[in-house]
Symmetry: D3
Amino acid sequence: MYFHRQELQHKATPDKPDAVYARKLQEVLGGQYGEITVALQYQFQAWNMHIPGKYRDLVFGIGAEEMGHVEMLAVMIAQLLEKSPLGITDEAVQNDPTVAAVIGGTDVQQGIVAGAGARPVDSNGNPWMGSYITSSGNLLADFQANANAEMQGRVQVARLYHMTDDHGVRDLLGFLLARDTMHQNQWLAAAAELQAEGVESLPVPSNFPIGKEERDVSYQYINFSDGAAASEGSWASGPTPDGLGEFSYHEAPEAGVPMPPPTHPDARFYGTTDVPNVVEKLAGRAQDALKKE
Amino acid sequence: MYFHRQELQHKATPDKPDAVYARKLQEVLGGQYGEITVALQYQFQAWNMHIPGKYRDLVFGIGAEEMGHVEMLAVMIAQLLEKSPLGITDEAVQNDPTVAAVIGGTDVQQGIVAGAGARPVDSNGNPWMGSYITSSGNLLADFQANANAEMQGRVQVARLYHMTDDHGVRDLLGFLLARDTMHQNQWLAAAAELQAEGVESLPVPSNFPIGKEERDVSYQYINFSDGAAASEGSWASGPTPDGLGEFSYHEAPEAGVPMPPPTHPDARFYGTTDVPNVVEKLAGRAQDALKKE
Amino acid sequence: MYFHRQELQHKATPDKPDAVYARKLQEVLGGQYGEITVALQYQFQAWNMHIPGKYRDLVFGIGAEEMGHVEMLAVMIAQLLEKSPLGITDEAVQNDPTVAAVIGGTDVQQGIVAGAGARPVDSNGNPWMGSYITSSGNLLADFQANANAEMQGRVQVARLYHMTDDHGVRDLLGFLLARDTMHQNQWLAAAAELQAEGVESLPVPSNFPIGKEERDVSYQYINFSDGAAASEGSWASGPTPDGLGEFSYHEAPEAGVPMPPPTHPDARFYGTTDVPNVVEKLAGRAQDALKKE
Amino acid sequence: MYFHRQELQHKATPDKPDAVYARKLQEVLGGQYGEITVALQYQFQAWNMHIPGKYRDLVFGIGAEEMGHVEMLAVMIAQLLEKSPLGITDEAVQNDPTVAAVIGGTDVQQGIVAGAGARPVDSNGNPWMGSYITSSGNLLADFQANANAEMQGRVQVARLYHMTDDHGVRDLLGFLLARDTMHQNQWLAAAAELQAEGVESLPVPSNFPIGKEERDVSYQYINFSDGAAASEGSWASGPTPDGLGEFSYHEAPEAGVPMPPPTHPDARFYGTTDVPNVVEKLAGRAQDALKKE
Amino acid sequence: MYFHRQELQHKATPDKPDAVYARKLQEVLGGQYGEITVALQYQFQAWNMHIPGKYRDLVFGIGAEEMGHVEMLAVMIAQLLEKSPLGITDEAVQNDPTVAAVIGGTDVQQGIVAGAGARPVDSNGNPWMGSYITSSGNLLADFQANANAEMQGRVQVARLYHMTDDHGVRDLLGFLLARDTMHQNQWLAAAAELQAEGVESLPVPSNFPIGKEERDVSYQYINFSDGAAASEGSWASGPTPDGLGEFSYHEAPEAGVPMPPPTHPDARFYGTTDVPNVVEKLAGRAQDALKKE
Amino acid sequence: MYFHRQELQHKATPDKPDAVYARKLQEVLGGQYGEITVALQYQFQAWNMHIPGKYRDLVFGIGAEEMGHVEMLAVMIAQLLEKSPLGITDEAVQNDPTVAAVIGGTDVQQGIVAGAGARPVDSNGNPWMGSYITSSGNLLADFQANANAEMQGRVQVARLYHMTDDHGVRDLLGFLLARDTMHQNQWLAAAAELQAEGVESLPVPSNFPIGKEERDVSYQYINFSDGAAASEGSWASGPTPDGLGEFSYHEAPEAGVPMPPPTHPDARFYGTTDVPNVVEKLAGRAQDALKKE
């Protein structure tokens, strides 16, 4: 069960209106790595989790916080839009290039559709999609996905920080950056703990029967481009992070295998096949035509 | 520039047809974490990268390999479909429940649209989308994203391994599992190297001015659910992975701040506002009507 | 702020596994009118609302409840999948038509992607999208949208009720049906209250200046098909629900106006225009070619 | 069958070009609540309807009209674009901030893709989607959906009215507003008639067996937020709109039920499960490795 | 303006119910090359066309016919579903593998969402999208697109023909095949006529200034794969279809040009750049931290 | 297998930064007819092809080239963005209308998400989708689709050519235009060769049994609009391009057939059916209620 309290976790009020920035903030609300993504990602992971205890409590505990982050951004966006020129004619958009310039950079649906409000979309207006979230049931994989989401998210918030001078907005972003710092660290700590406890290890999934994997190529760097510097990295020689092998470097793949012959599905899929068939086909078609008469 | 060689990196021929499995394989070809995703993700990272040398060579080197993985899966799928019942009537689907059952589990577009061929979609038929890829220009964030993709991908291939007894299919999956093992290890090694060389460090992005972040909450675990076990994890006390702080545990957030007052955008957005206004509005409407007469 | 409690609002445990049903239930979790839609729709309406008080409290109060409905369905789906055949080979799918038939009807991504868990998608595997929600800032329009969502949702739950005999599932659906009954009634009551208080009235938006609308056609039923029975309805004569007019019936539209002449954009868009131009164009092309030599 | 007549229902010619506005108009052509939505929604409802007569004639009669509204908007958009600066270099965009500002607000695909023409997308360029329409076969639910669509649509047209001074555009919008007034009224009248005739009633669907619904909670307002004013509404006490009960107010949910234990799917989904298993798993993995040698 | 007549262009009644086939038919109703696509494609081409007369009349004339084809398919689908088992429990799905098998192959949203009706989606349940249509304003390009759509469409209908024995369905498909034959021929004839009249010619667009194209490579077949047989085709030597050149064959591209140096955007995008910078960055970060204290 | 070489096929460096143009170029990189589309379309056609030899070599040979075109555009876009104002505050956007105007026209995700890099999206930010590609297995249909893609693509590149004065950009576009000229010609030549060799002919698919098509309407132009000029075209009289018939012109369709009666699915789908049923339904509902007590 979820409960709402009519308070915000942190102040979310801009100093002044800025419709262009209201559009940009949509990225961290409803984008691929926005707050809706992490909120629902953590909750789905919790609902699908196979063990009770600290890991599940962790995911539940943060998932609800992220819903509150969605809320702060939505409330901030509504205020950024409140007094902004959004295209209403008396705002004299057509005549004043400065205002027109502002209009050009806005999300017009925030005005036309939401009446000067936030929307569940990214900064280009693409609707948030369920396919943004990751929840596989394998905790090491999923915590890696969570760390990834928090990293990409923090990079985006950091960029947005430099796209405004508004103290109110920067104050909120400073808070979100700090929480992203926490969550990055937290997921990396949790991933490390899973391994320290032997719950999961590398490679993910760690308990796939090793004999069924083609181990010969499990630690080979095979170069399919012509940049030789890739051989200088720690991924081209030395021990592997999973502790189970040694990297080796291969300038190119071994000789490949021939392609299998082309398929010949049922003729009634009308794919193009060998020429000889065609004569028969046309003959058949002619006969058909004759029969019809 | 890209060059194609009419060979496969590994044998990709099934022992027998299996249209239901051909549908399932689409997940690792065209799904969120399928081979199209990693192929294009690595290439976009290469095209957008800001430094030459080993990291860019690495990303280019693997990107092209993944294109060849897309190819092996597509060729495998075409063969799995070649002799399968796909709904053509002489296949007697309607009468034989066994065959009908098979049909029920197929991707009907593989037949109707592709003529018994592979498609750029996932196992539920959703088209592959550009929003699946991650390329931020920040290499530590992006290599984390790559490790994530390889982990989720390997989990999926492992599951698919157990969904067939076909030796030809399992042979290919065993090869792909091994390459995923390599790539997981490789991205983790590369991420470690970035940090060892001081190119990037945690938290990502590591050079955001620390004074602009609200550091007080940068290492606080704040619990928004009621599972107390989250306090037992390494994310609730002790040093943080970024080496810059100490985790602390907080059972609940501090008192929040009041919500800002509701916004009042321009009346011509026709959002609902306070009741007093309404009287005026209706008066105005009446006047309008009178004027018109 | 949102808080989570590790309890469910209602029991959500099936009597037995049923993977086919687990797929069907996705519709009311992640479909156009599923619980994610209403949860986020009500919350966005709250964040964008322009008046404090009972209407905003109402929207906040229900929004959080719906998050808990998402949770119950996700937890139910995970249990329906827990012991189900999902394609793992020892489950002998290939040999047993009954089992194969079951497999045919499952959401294969629940197995391959989520490891036997719920996903943010509908019953055909389409990801949930932000474009499913409605939040315009006009409360009468939005409460109508909410009543619509609860009606469509209740119709779907009612259909799903008849697609299972499982007592545990039916018990949960019986609860959801009752809550949908409540919410339908509630939004209709709220819409009526808005009108009774004079906050908003019909037509929505009610305070658009009446003189700017082409009132002549505001209450005309104009028939563009050839079914004459449409003239028998209350929408073809008598007073209109907004209390501002009288319906009238028109068998067909009045004579239309001629189409404006086709547009002629800049020639460098290379749209096809009149023939005479072409001669010049080709001449120009020839000259170009000559110049080049 | 559908027939086209080369006339428009109403004049659709702007006074002057305006590419920024041409983008905005796309919302009511190809957006969630644009004319394509209602045109196809009404037609699908007609094709799926289960009773002949006035209701079906009504839906067919309006569906074809809405196709003509799509046409008027498309024709209007093409004219707004005809003489507008759309980025062609001689238009001196780069040098003149006024023109550049205009360009900033345009839909660049209207130029690059459509050659200065209308497109089946919304004002942010998202393609129209089949998931925007509602057609359930339950007429009371569907007419409610139709009234909702006409309300949201009219709100958007009203906002757009204030975003231009162009008399030609306003003339068309004034006509569309009037038709939306009609259609709002019409669907509400039709919904009332369904109930008056006893064809359908509240709650939708009205003939679901009442004994199967958990009636105890069918009329309870349960507050999941902390705004107490929700208790003051007509949805918290008094008779319910469906005439079958009395609303009651509950400050919070009753005690919930414990979450069911986490699921344990087949181990070959490689979800993370209890720690004890892991020891075995790793042992198994080691044995596997040994066997392989 | 569009007008509807309550008749079908051709009989559209199946002999017997078939829910699996009802799903398959969705492809040619709401798929990439289904009837909604051609209906809207032709109408958008008409609305955006720049010349009056026979070409525009042609596009208008066929566009409205295609709307009627959508209708026939929708009506057919509703009838195929009418008496089919769609998962309602008394249909004994769970016990009878034959019935279960059927259920497995159905579009479950046709039941749950549409109440046994047609939907604007393809045979995998993907919603129809505005991005399926093509309308560029260049008639030769667009008529080529139309011929393409009619060819892909006819291939799909032909495949579907063999997936049923139902005489009623086959009767309708036989009609649609014939209309696709007509429309293929028609668009090819119209494309030829454009060229014969000199309105447009190859290459499209034909009036782009020839001197601005890098003519050296305009007719070179450059092989980027290692299949030598491509040199045997008419595209590797001899005159070109546009009549302006001679094909030539090149086994591989000429030496390419070096990649430009990697970009260095503003540091505040936090992309990873050269190592030397990092030292400064970290120094800056330390200073920041000091300042804060 | 695919191999990458760290060279470009053609120079791809702009003279100066231009963020607005960087957005526009996304269309031909990641749009419906952009380079990702043709690259993957040709490769899927190759993987699904049913005959070895020149046609398959052709498709493989071009498919890899197109991957290199994606690369050139991505590299160009990154450079166009490198020194552009992208919203960072020191760039003084808010104060200078000229700069603000530029910002208005940019793809803000290129900055916020990609850190001044290219993305797999179109010029309005819509992600590339797998549903853009066409691969049916029928070569005549598919080569027609390929010619279509190259035509639409060349039209778009031609338009983009006129939207910049940058010599570096124009130089690249001049090269792409020439390659599109080649590929248009090539696919038309290949389509002609298929027919000349008798492998496929018109109508596509050419070997569908002619007796199963309703031949009476295979060459009839039937006018569903009221523009009479359509009768003047070569599609209204004379021999058909497939050489199998004669076009004829029909001013309107023959009398249609009556619509089949509305469907009556199982009552438990709760669709609205005839009124008489309702009395029973309500009676049943009352009884239900009584039973419950």
